[in-house]
Symmetry: C2
Amino acid sequence: MKELKERIVSDGRALEGGILKVDGFINHQIDSQLMMSIAREFVRRTEGVEYDKIVTIEASGIAPAILVAYLTGKPLVFVKKSVPSTMEGMVASEVFSFTKNRSYTVSASRKFIEGSRLLFIDDFLANGNAAMGVVDIAHKAQAEVVAMGFVIEKGFQCGRERLSSLGIPIESLAIIESLDDCKIVLR
Amino acid sequence: MKELKERIVSDGRALEGGILKVDGFINHQIDSQLMMSIAREFVRRTEGVEYDKIVTIEASGIAPAILVAYLTGKPLVFVKKSVPSTMEGMVASEVFSFTKNRSYTVSASRKFIEGSRLLFIDDFLANGNAAMGVVDIAHKAQAEVVAMGFVIEKGFQCGRERLSSLGIPIESLAIIESLDDCKIVLR
């Protein structure tokens, strides 16, 4: 997606340790018009995929996901990152975050995803752990993630390889080839 | 807002302790078409208010806020609930949550709000603590919250009174008069 790639190059910043800062337009301050273009591109790329609901993880997945949900007329379910006060009616999964170097629990109400075909939308694909957590939750609720869309993929990490082994189609709108020497190189 | 009020009555649930569950259409599973109607109503009610950016708090404020941002062509800044790894360039405020009975820190990058006129959008107004935290952050960044919009206001709590003392106009799309005896009574 040309508009997004150009914006990453002009306004993104590569920091030490393979970190890409896009907090000026994607995940802290959001360019709402760019985000709608991103949502339209997700819709275009998943034409022909049949799904009932959009699913994402709070917090930075919600903006692209609600716009996709709006465009397609489908509901959005956002998976929570906190441990629910009661596990009654919940499905949960443990996710390890390399960025934060700790595990956290993702959870959702079973009734909102049970038996559904889900399109998973998120801002970043890195090692794929968060996405794997959502696939796990879906399985536990007899639901199925039928496709995944990421705004930005870190192509130098193992996320795509791990998720591909599950046989789920992946669409990334911008793929980062490298952040070596604090330089952004797009594929 | 008639459509929202009817939905609260039909699909919301009042639980013990003044809790209103709207997780089937507002803050866990989201009815994307209703949420766009909500955003349009916020835009309608804030016509004539001049602002530069939309601001909200993660996570459940993001859906209505990004839609308002899209409709108005403005950027959205979402205030974070976690403590940033470094406070460099950040403004922060302590917020006490009665629902969770603990304090948490809200923070934002100074550069994204500095000097801006902000329209604050959130899903719930109860005691107003989260909103007060955002007003505090704005002050610290020489920014100003010029109006506030809430999807649902708990009219039996003190939020409106506290926020009104700041002289900031408040728009709530549905006001709950009472949840006594686990019955939803709208104003």
